[in-house]
């Protein structure tokens, strides 16, 4: 008898996969609603996949580090500790380097078609909007999970990875609204 069975693999994966695509379709719906602005400023399309990826990574790093500190007793499980300056500083500094890298990679490709202000500001604007949302989300989910006796690692990471695309897409929407209007 086989150890792995195709139907078991499928039935165990389908509910989670369905939840993922419903939430991802919301992210897609946000992008679809601003497709005119995105096609007019292709630079926003360029920064979209890195921003979405960065949203997930920054949130996961923040949540995982906060979870470790909660388990070690280095931080009290209180809502006011969801935002920790040192931890937020770490992910913000890293994200700032990434935003700069995006400008450096994007500038040669899009300088002819994108206004300089948007070329310079769009990655930073989108990344900082994403960071604020992800840090608050990661902090609150981790603290609430810990307060309820759950391991934040098991709760916050799946929640963050699922919602990261939605947050990233919303950040692009806000960036388009702020910079293009």
């Amino acid at each position: 008898m086989s150890y792995y069975r195709a139907h078991r693999i499928a039935f165990e994966q389908l509910p989670f996969a369905f939840l993922t695509i419903v939430i991802e379709s919301l992210a897609g719906g946000i992008l679809y609603s601003v497709h005119h602005q995105l096609t007019q400023t292709a630079y926003l399309l360029f920064i979209l996949p890195p921003i979405i990826n960065l949203a997930g990574e920054a949130g996961c790093i923040y949540a995982a580090r906060l979870s470790t500190r909660l388990h070690l007793g280095l931080v009290a499980p209180r809502i006011k500790h969801a935002f920790h300056l040192r931890e937020a500083g770490l992910v913000t500094a890293s994200a700032t380097v990434c935003a700069t890298a995006l400008v450096i990679v994007g500038a040669p490709n899009f300088i002819a078609t994108t206004p300089l202000l948007i070329l310079l500001l769009a990655p930073y604007t989108a990344i900082y909007i994403t960071l604020v949302a992800m840090i608050l989300l990661a902090g609150l989910v981790s603290i609430l999970a810990f307060l309820r006796g759950l391991d934040p690692d098991n709760v916050s990471i799946p929640v963050i990875t699922t919602l990261a695309d939605l947050v990233g897409a919303s950040a692009i929407l806000l960036t388009a609204f702020l910079l293009l209007s």
Binding site: A17, G29, Y32, L45, D165
Partner: protein, 182 residues
């Protein structure tokens, strides 16, 4: 204690920069397709769900292959029933879920596009992305295990990054194929 430790910052930044550069490739490919997006805007609606699904299915396949290799249920360079069942499971999930993505896109776009064509596009793109991604994942899992490297540490990050690039290219190719019908 200093606000930021340079070693921690270097560790976090180097990882994020590596994945950022991979995602930038997807970004550049996407940015050069503005005319295609104007002709078929649902590409932006389908893309996040398709890429997330690709990551989910390929990531789970990578994790199962790695576990199977560690348990001795799957043996390196043996393409037997265990490997086949893993493939069939992944393909089955891909077909069901990509059909659902097509149906969701149909309703989200206010039924502007033909349902059978949207479903055909998403299923074809999903399958087109699945086959090479799953094959590469399987070969890398077996190769790393064969060389004494833990596949868990290598295959899952690779599966998600590789899945994004292959997934996007597959969607692009499928839309170009179906463009006369859209």
């Amino acid at each position: 204690m200093p606000l930021l430790r340079s070693r921690e910052l270097a560790e976090v930044t180097s990882t994020q920069l590596t994945t950022l550069l991979i995602e930038s490739v997807v970004g550049i490919l996407l940015a050069y397709q503005t005319s295609l997006i104007e002709r078929f805007p649902p590409i932006l609606l389908i893309l996040p769900a398709l890429l997330a699904l690709r990551g989910d299915v390929s990531g789970a396949l990578a994790a199962r292959l790695s576990t199977g290799l560690h348990l001795g249920v799957i043996r390196p360079w043996r393409f037997d029933r265990e490997v086949l069942n893993n493939w069939i499971g992944a393909i089955f999930v891909t077909v069901i879920m990509t059909s659902s993505i097509g149906i969701l896109a149909y309703f989200w776009t206010g039924q502007q596009y033909s349902l059978p064509i949207l479903v055909a596009v998403t299923v074809a793109a999903g399958l087109l992305a699945s086959l090479p991604t799953n094959l590469v994942i399987m070969l890398i899992a077996m190769f790393t295990y064969y060389r004494g490297i833990n596949p868990d540490n290598v295959v899952i990050p690779l599966a998600t990054s590789l899945g994004d690039i292959i997934g996007f290219l597959a969607l692009l190719a499928t839309i170009l194929l179906f463009l006369p019908l859209l």
